[in-house]
């Protein structure tokens, strides 16, 4: 079984018989050689500026310190006290957010994978209908559900606890994790699953031993999506937790006062809050592995 694992970084290994002038980057050279490659590089650089510009605005405001004037100009002097002010306010709740987002992401992605596998590979009557129903309900604005949710959680003595909000995020994250994984599994050939069934594997064994190893790209996308949404969630974090268990987003929102507005500290705080998510992206980004299933049917 040959598995040609390629990362985006390296592309296919160079083959000596390949012609020198090709239309696309097939060899791992760092310097663009064809006109298209140059166009590509220039386009990427231009887009880099476009995407980085608003981030520059945020960083420059943060560097202007507390009491920064609103606006796009460069800071006249660098004032880092906004960062220390923000850190002092936020640090207590960053750990809460970690305790909420990490388990909720892992569990919802895992359960989503299980559901996705069942929906994609093992049809039972009504599977599609259930999938549809699972998805459609997610589009209700959550403002409408917070009261019954609060009452329900209070009855279970989960209101205000970290477990409570983790469970809420798992429940409301499950449908989309299922969607991502199901649509990913649909593209895996049935033959693989058939082969496992023929070999005598039950559902769970097939899932764990055959499907899970192939799921990395799906998990990457689902992980990015879930972690970002859970980490940046505000509404549930506001209602379902108590003060001790507030996620950092509620604290960040509190930096925006009603009769005093401190943009410098707000931006500094926002950058700090975004950092863990960026780290997650960097870690997951290494796993954009493709072609694992190429040839595995053989």
């Amino acid at each position: 079984m040959s598995t040609v694992t390629e990362t985006i970084e390296t592309g296919l290994p160079a083959s000596p018989a390949a012609p020198r002038k090709r239309r696309g980057p097939r060899e791992p050279h760092w310097r663009p050689r064809t006109p298209w490659q140059w166009v590509n590089l220039i386009a990427c650089a231009a887009l880099l500026i476009y995407f980085a510009f608003p981030v520059y605005v945020i960083i420059s405001t943060a560097l202007k310190g507390p009491g920064a004037a609103a606006g796009l100009g460069l800071p006249t002097e660098i004032d880092m006290s906004g960062f220390s002010l923000a850190w002092g306010t936020l640090k207590g709740n960053l750990w809460n957010s970690v305790q909420i987002a990490v388990p909720a992401t892992i569990i919802s992605c895992f359960l989503g994978a299980l559901n996705g596998f069942v929906l994609a590979k093992t049809p039972f009557r009504g599977a599609s209908l259930l999938f549809i129903l699972m998805m459609v309900g997610m589009f209700i604005p959550f403002q409408a559900v917070i009261i019954p949710l609060f009452v329900f959680l209070k009855a279970l003595a989960l209101q205000g606890t970290l477990i409570g909000i983790v469970i809420v995020h798992i429940i409301y994250g499950l449908p989309f994790a299922t969607l991502i994984m199901r649509n990913y599994y649909v593209t895996i050939p049935d033959a693989i699953v058939e082969a496992a069934a023929v070999d005598g594997c039950g559902l769970l064994r097939t899932f764990f031993q055959v499907i899970l190893p192939l799921s990395i790209p799906g998990f990457v996308v689902a992980g990015i999506f879930q972690f970002t949404n859970i980490w940046n969630d505000f509404l549930f974090g506001l209602i379902v937790t108590s003060q001790q268990t507030w996620p950092v987003t509620v604290r960040l929102n509190n930096l925006l006062g009603d009769t005093s507005v401190d943009y410098g500290t707000l931006m500094a705080g926002a950058l700090m809050v975004a950092l863990p998510t960026v780290l997650v992206y960097l870690v997951l980004g290494r796993y954009f592995i493709g072609g694992l299933t190429a040839g595995s049917v053989k």
Binding site: I146, I147, P213, N254, L255, L256, G257, D258, S260, V261
Partner: protein, 436 residues
């Protein structure tokens, strides 16, 4: 490779479960009031205070109250559960949810008048008349304010401050350049007539931070006040004076003229940016409550040189009151003894003095010392005791929440359509349908 994945998956799941159980233990003690119960004279437990004062001068002012309470009840832990956003909307959302769920905080912030009456009517706020009698507060508060705190002779809330909403912040240089002078006795018609002159001098006559819906709503209510007076205004917000009264129509027409002379980026400007722009000379005037004073001085602007202030033309004798008050729950109160001690601190003269100095507002009681107060705040405190007090509509004080929102929405519509008839029609209908 496959075995490795299986092990990894199991390990992840195990880790998550462990993390969850660890968190669960730590977090579950977080539910408010779970730790202590009322033990005699506020001897122990916690006091959870709910407000929307989270940063800057508001937070500093709240700390004054916290310190006063902790000094008076050292055995009780004070919990600051403030949540900001939307002029209190976020806090209100949490509060409603908790009240629905039978889990109120020990005390929460609200506006007096109709905002208070809403929670009185459904029985959420506790009757504290005995506290008023024990402390003799009735004698210390202005009559109009007292009426905003009681229903059927019983008191339900303790006020802490008085902000004035009908202050016009001006840029002296811009006004001088245009040859316009505004004083406490300028009439509204003179003001509106002066706007084109200021525009010709090359500066925007009025700065308006219309991204915040309360800013234009406040501007209109003050213009209406200038036309119908305090009595007319009070009748308007109770539905006795219909909105399509000719004087109100004139007021809306003046509002339209003012909008023609407003900075062109008002739709994306927040109220604080509008105030700062005035002090920076980008425009000549800005109507805003006196919380703008703190905002300006905190950003280094000097009263008298960078900016000045005058009561909004036509409303010199009116104090457009925006205040905050605290209530305690009637049922399921987590710590009733501590709550009473908390309320008792709020109207202590020294606490009032210090709190309002930090907050930038006027003390509600006469005998709070004004030592160390900046010039503007001294004048405001005096005005509170001497002028006619009316309750702001833009801040959902003088009318029920739904009517105030309808008003705010109608103003937003008007900003787009400039259709006076449509505005008056919407408001008259709302008066009929919503104001009993």
């Amino acid at each position: 490779m496959v075995e490795g994945f299986k092990r990894a998956a199991l390990a992840l799941t195990a880790a998550s479960v462990l993390a969850l159980s660890a968190c669960g233990g730590a977090g579950s003690s977080g539910s408010p009031g779970a730790e202590g119960s009322a033990t005699g004279e506020a001897g122990g437990g916690t006091l959870e205070v709910f407000s929307w004062w989270t940063s800057g001068s508001e937070a500093a002012a709240l700390k004054v109250l916290e310190d006063a309470f902790t000094a008076a009840a050292p055995g009780v832990t004070y919990k600051n559960a403030a949540v900001s956003g939307g002029g209190g909307s976020n806090a209100r959302t949490v509060l409603s949810t908790r009240l629905q769920g039978g889990d109120p905080p020990d005390s929460w912030q609200l506006h007096p008048d109709q905002d208070l009456f809403a929670v009185v009517e459904d029985g959420s706020a506790a009757d504290i008349t005995d506290l008023y009698q024990a402390n003799g507060w009735e004698a210390k508060l202005p009559d109009t304010v007292k009426n905003m705190l009681q229903k059927d002779g019983k008191y339900y809330a303790v006020p802490v401050n008085a902000h004035r909403a009908n202050v016009l912040w001006t840029n002296p240089d811009a006004l001088k350049k245009a040859g316009v002078s505004l004083s406490e006795t300028t009439s509204i018609t003179d003001f509106v007539a002066a706007l084109p002159k200021i525009k010709d001098a090359g500066v925007a006559p009025v700065c308006l931070g219309a991204k915040d819906p309360f800013a234009p709503a406040q501007l209109l209510e003050v213009i209406i006040m200038a036309n119908v007076g305090a009595d007319g205004y009070n009748q308007l917000v109770t539905g006795q004076l219909p909105f399509d009264d000719p004087k109100v129509r004139t007021a809306v027409g003046q509002f339209k003229k003012v909008l023609e002379n407003v900075n062109n980026d008002s739709a994306v400007l927040t109220w604080d940016q509008a105030a700062l722009n005035t002090a920076d000379g980008k425009c000549a005037s800005n109507l805003m409550g006196d919380w703008a004073y703190g905002e300006l001085t905190n950003k280094g602007k000097k009263d008298g040189t960078d900016f000045s202030h005058v009561t909004f033309p036509g409303t010199g004798e009116i104090f457009d009151f925006v205040g905050d008050a605290f209530v305690i729950p009637a049922e399921n109160a987590p710590n009733p003894e501590a709550e009473k001690v908390w309320l008792a601190q709020l109207l202590d003269p020294k606490v009032q003095s210090e709190f309002n100095l930090k907050k930038g507002s006027a003390p509600v009681i006469k005998d709070a010392s004004l030592d160390g107060y900046p010039d503007y705040q001294q004048k405001a405190a005096e005005a509170f005791q001497t002028k006619t007090i009316v309750s702001s509509l833009a801040h959902a004080q003088s009318a029920p929440a739904e009517f105030a929102t309808t008003y705010s929405d109608a103003v937003t519509s008007f900003l787009g359509s400039k259709n006076v008839d449509a505005f008056l029609k919407t408001m008259t209908e709302a008066q009929k349908n919503q104001l009993g």
